[in-house]
């Protein structure tokens, strides 16, 4: 097709393969992180395949109810956000197989997809009619919006630095040596974006959105059976997809699956480690935190680039 110069039908099954690998990786990795958390607390922890059983159990439930069209669509939007984020970003740099549908302006699209699921969830959770959902969603939107500010500034800084909006070219510029990573060439932008990374991974101290002890689980309060199964799938996919973006932009990308697995795991563990030692922020505290610490670093990154 002339309108999509880089598109070939052969990419579709390969992109689906990437999706399959990433979902399974996410299933195992999130269970592993929970297991590590349990071991730190002196417990044995869940079986490593627990995520698969939970997913199967939720699909196998017999009764489902719907609260309306948006309620039905919200998990779909949420999963679309995760899948879209993954598919429009090169997962493995230099590999013809796992290049996915990346194109010249994918950085902007990725920024949009990070936010897409939250917006869909807002509509669906609102329609479920549960007050806890509405509270959770309003908290989520205000917190994620604030957390995205430093990310946006950091991303503008590095797109100025590399003079491109193409993630593949940004990864290419970081190859060769570990000191070519954006982490070393532009530490301010990296720090600004890492504020957003920790802030949007829904882990303590920024997990007041789902706050299980306070507003029972927040936005997904009314979601059950297959709806919940879709959201669980996204719950393992989305953090990995988001981490892939950070990995590509700031930590040199990955040239093979082993490097991918290690880098994503280390980045994911970063939020987990921060989470286990810090108590939860209230939403106005976290907004203030991002404005006070994240935003100035982001502005500095723009000014010094």
């Amino acid at each position: 097709m002339s309108s999509f110069p880089n598109f070939a039908w052969g990419q579709v099954p390969l992109a689906l393969l990437t999706l399959f690998i990433v979902i399974n990786y996410g299933m195992i990795m999130t269970a592993l992180v929970r297991k590590i958390g349990a071991r730190v607390g002196g417990r044995y922890g869940i079986p490593i395949w627990q995520n698969y059983i939970d997913l199967l159990k939720n699909i196998a439930l017999r009764s489902k109810i719907s609260h309306g069209v948006m309620y039905y669509l919200a998990p779909v939007f949420r999963l679309t956000g995760g899948v879209g984020l993954l598919l429009f970003v090169p997962t493995i740099y230099g590999s013809d197989w796992h290049q996915n549908f990346s194109y010249a302006g994918d950085l902007i699209l990725a920024l949009y997809f990070v936010f897409f699921g939250t917006l869909g969830m807002a509509l669906g959770a609102g329609e479920s009619g549960h007050p806890h959902s509405a509270i959770g969603v309003s908290r989520g939107l205000s917190q994620v919006t604030m957390a995205e500010l430093p990310l946006a500034l950091g991303v503008y800084a590095i797109s100025l630095q590399y003079q491109t909006l193409d993630i593949t070219q940004i990864v290419a510029a970081q190859q060769g040596s570990i000191f070519n990573w954006t982490l070393f060439t532009n530490p301010l932008a990296t720090i600004a974006a890492m504020f957003a990374f920790v802030g949007t991974m829904m882990r303590s101290p920024f997990d007041v959105v789902i706050a299980p002890q306070e507003i029972p689980i927040g936005p997904p309060t009314e979601y059950h059976s297959s709806y919940l199964a879709l959201m669980q799938t996204n719950r393992v996919l989305f953090p990995v997809a988001k981490t892939v973006i950070y990995m590509n932009l700031f930590f040199g990308g990955a040239t093979n699956w082993a490097e991918f697995a290690i880098k994503v795991f280390v980045l994911y563990m970063l939020t987990a480690v921060i989470g286990v030692v810090h108590p939860r922020f209230r939403v106005e505290q976290s907004i203030r935190f991002f404005l006070k610490w994240g935003l100035p670093v982001g502005v500095l990154a723009i000014l010094t680039v």
Partner: protein, 230 residues
């Protein structure tokens, strides 16, 4: 017929008036529209529960049952003193998570309702609502002698005696109180029951729905909810 052990049954001659906020009324909206509000009808779905058939193939149903038994999500809802025995299960000493048992904060995502000890009539109403909101198949576990025959609350004016009269119970754990080890054993037994395909409490509830409602209404004094609340 009145008996000494029927103190908890309600006095049918004395009607409890409907609470003010639940009465049907006309409300003027901020833009001047007049709308009718009937809280009992508007906020709940009162369709009767259905009997859900098993999966068509036995292999599939067995596979599903295996998954259900290994992913028991408990509703975090403590009703009596037994709730304190559930907490140690989350701690390093007993650690129920390694058996696929987890706690969920909302009935929509829970499969197992643990009635942890005595159930006062007031709490029974909440337990029924929580149970009916859970997706099928769902299981009920009665903890302690109070749920079996009233236990030390046998003579109470405000506590039900047999939980089985009001909700379909899949597994009892006897004792006053049962220790966390007994609870873990109960979970293992419940898993066995589910794997054998006998954990069909939700269907029992749907089949004998009218009888359960008669029993529930015989004790709950202020029945200000629809017969079935989703």
């Amino acid at each position: 017929m009145k008996d000494v052990d029927d103190k908890f049954r309600k006095d049918t001659e004395k009607q409890v008036p409907l609470r003010e906020e639940l009465k049907p009324r006309k409300v003027t909206t901020p833009d001047g529209q007049e709308i009718d509000i009937d809280p009992l009808r508007d906020y709940f779905c009162d369709a009767k529960p259905k009997v859900h058939p098993k999966a068509y193939s036995k292999i599939v149903e067995d596979f599903y049952n295996w998954a259900r038994s290994n992913s028991l999500w408990i509703l975090g809802f403590g009703t009596g003193c037994g709730a304190i025995e559930m907490r140690p299960l989350m701690t390093p000493r007993f650690d129920a998570y390694r058996y696929g048992i987890q706690w969920r904060p909302t009935p929509r995502q829970a499969n197992l309702l643990v009635i942890s000890g005595y159930l006062s009539v007031k709490t029974l109403k909440r337990a029924i609502r929580a149970y009916e909101q859970m997706p099928s198949p769902k299981y009920v576990m009665g903890l302690g002698s109070c749920t079996i025959n009233g236990g030390m609350y046998w003579d109470s004016y405000n506590t039900i005696k047999r939980l089985d009269d009001y909700l379909p119970v899949d597994m009892y754990v006897a004792g006053c109180m049962p220790r966390p080890e007994a609870l873990l054993h109960g979970f293992m037994e419940l898993k066995r029951v589910i794997r054998e395909g006998k954990g069909e409490g939700a269907n029992t509830y749907a089949e004998n729905f009218d009888q359960y409602k008669v029993n529930q209404k015989a004790v709950i004094k202020d029945w200000d909810m629809p017969d079935y609340n989703w």
